[in-house]
Amino acid sequence: MSCVLGSLLSDSQGSFLEGHTSLQTDPCPASPAPRTPPSHGPSGRPGRGCGQGIKGPAGSGLSYGVCALLQPSRAATMVHWSAEEKQLISSVWGKVNVEECGAEALARLLIVYPWTQRFFDNFGNLSSPTAIIGNPKVRAHGKKVLTSFGEAVKNLDNIKKCFAQLSKLHCDKLHVDPENFRLLGDILIIVLASHFGKDFTPACQAAWQKMVRVVAHALAHEYH
């Protein structure tokens, strides 16, 4: 299992990361991190993560620890998925064309909620629905975003952990209001409904709305 942070950090968002050339990502642990004594790592912040993962800019005092499970309150809020929910989520996901659905979901987000365009000044022409749908940067970014969802589908029991770094990125670098994650989640549901028709049963919708809610929550979790 791996976090998608590496691929997400590479291209058009690269401007946020100029100077931070030594970024490395660590894979999400497959199981909760062993309890280690709180460490005063390079960040000087006791007990935050186990010292691995992305290091913030030198001297910033920031450290983006991969595992943040040393705080009992986090372990206590693990999401429970029934067997049926897991089955509904994976069976839908198995039939999703990530590139197409991702592109469509992001395009619809920008069209239906035009204020979300504020995060994409460097995407070029977003002046009309046609322009947005045909915009190659929108398509590429939509694919990237939905690929990230795929990581959540594969790691339903570790979503918060898996998205910890992405969450910090969205807060510290991208400055995205978490409400946008909820908006995108709702749009994704509608895209799935339009692709799967009657197969997107109420039970299916319920499982997927829970999924997008959990993902949105995980992405907002590291906000401060």
Binding site: V112, P129, I190, V191, A193, G197
Partner: protein, 142 residues
């Protein structure tokens, strides 16, 4: 939230296409809402909410009729739904957040039955319309 003339055209087009299925869409909207957002069931303790419930069907018909009425009077939704607005403010007092949830489920129903109808532009217009309806129904709350 201002509905442009394009929005109004789009919305009317949706309801024209849905036609006689509106009642079924209403029922399915509620079914999905109860399944997806269980907290919405708290407004219906007196209902049988099981699958195929006649009460849910009946209520779905009412909800759909209200949406159709609003679409037919899209230039004056507040006027068309004034009595419903009073009802929600004085008697039903459904928390405003729930109108968004209903709206989401209605969009899902339209999308799943008519994917070709719900283009991004129509999706945007319908979403705006549903927001406007929710706003009208909660306008007199305080």
């Amino acid at each position: 939230m201002v509905l442009s003339s394009a929005d109004k055209t789009n919305v009317k087009g949706v309801f024209a296409k849905i036609g006689g299925h509106a009642e079924d869409y209403g029922a399915e909207t509620l079914e999905r809402m109860f399944a997806t957002y269980p907290q919405t069931k708290t407004y219906f303790p007196h209902f049988d909410l099981g699958k195929g419930s006649a009460q849910v069907k009946g209520h779905g018909k009412k909800v759909a009729a209200a949406l159709v009425e609003a679409a037919n009077h899209i230039d004056d939704i507040a006027g068309a739904l004034s009595k419903l607005s009073d009802l929600h403010a004085q008697k039903l007092r459904v928390d405003p957040v729930n109108f968004k949830l209903l709206g989401q489920c209605f969009l899902v129903v339209v999308a799943s039955h008519n994917p070709a109808l719900l283009t991004p532009e129509v999706h945007a217009s319908l979403d705006k319309f549903l927001c406007a309806v929710g706003t009208v129904l909660t306008a007199k709350y305080r």
